[in-house]
Amino acid sequence: MDETTLIREAQRGSLDAFNQLVLAYQDALFNTALRIMGDTDLAADATQEAFLSAFRNLTSFRGGSFRAWLLRTVTNACYDELRRKKRRPSLPLEPATEEDEDMDSPRWLADPNPSPEALLDQSELEHAIQHCLDDLPPEFRAVIVLADVQDLDYREVAAALKIPLGTIKSRLARARLRMRECLQSFWELLPAAFRLKSKGRA
């Protein structure tokens, strides 16, 4: 069954059709929530809440990009969660207890002289990016996550966030500028990782 048919069936009340859409989009929604919330558990909560909200409000979808429509619900769920928590998610700077040492932790912060292997560690790069994303205000973070992480075009981002196109352009430029300034401090630590990523791309 194609997506249009699934959406139509789901709008008629078919939970089975809706769940097929959930399976198709849950990775994208979870990743968006993860980059906005910076925490796996909170991202899972926001994702579940987003799908619940989407099912209840499915009749309000009148066509266009269903992906953008779903990403809007997850962004709103993230905003609600952030307001509820009233905190800005951030990675812990050091393990809370000795038992946490084996968990993912930003070793590049604890260790001023990382090994070459650590410099190329994908998880370190991911941590650096997430750290800088967490430093952005939520409204800027949402724009850059949708535009650059989820690869939506400006119109889709504007539709997802319900803000004007001009605001999208401005916020995206500012967010990229702040990301660059934040990542500048890691460039010296992770030059190889950055070089590998930019090699061969236009």
Binding site: L23, F30, T40, T47, F51, L52, R56, R176, L183
Partner: protein, 237 residues
Amino acid sequence: MRDRPSFHDLELLSAYLDGELREAATARLVARLKTNPQLQAELNNLHQIRLLLRNTPRRCAPRNFTLTPKMAGLRAPAPRSLPALRFAAALATILLALTFAVNYISPLGAAQRSAEVYGIGGGEAAEKENLLTEQEVFVESALPQEEYAAPSAELGMATQMPAMDEAGSMPTATVSPASEAAAEALPPSGDQESTAKIIPSAWQAGLAVFLLICVTAIVLLRWNAGRQLRKRMKQDR
């Protein structure tokens, strides 16, 4: 020519990077890029940032986020007769409560009216009480004076009463006229037994049975609707 690009320049570069710049603006920017190395460096930086973010590892969802019927708030469609049954059950409950209330209040009302007749209240019952008192005084006057302290004015009035003819029998009859007068002092509805129920018990029993039938019907209909929904969900799969 500015050494450092302004924020407006950065906005133009960002939009140009995403192909969101209009043709005329694109042409102007491309011309500037050829002659401004700092502008070109900024464009490269923005390009790198976008590349990093696009290549951020994509995590798989930690679990399935599919919805269950309970989560989705799906309920079995209510049968059409359900609202009428609910209304009937509510009405029966109210009527049943009213019957109990009326039956409870009516004996209490009778008890209060009885108390008024015997001197607690006033009005018509009190006038009859005065008449009785006068009659009693007339009778009492036949008894030894030192036992009674009745006023002489009342004694004088009592001598003019027709009841004088019955003076001989009054001492023993003082109780029965008083009780008869007390009975007369009650309103007509008080002629009924003070402990009798206004609403018969049979009516209350009938209302209770009707209420029970309505509640049973509601429960059965909802159970059947839920069973049909579960059957339909299984068929969808």
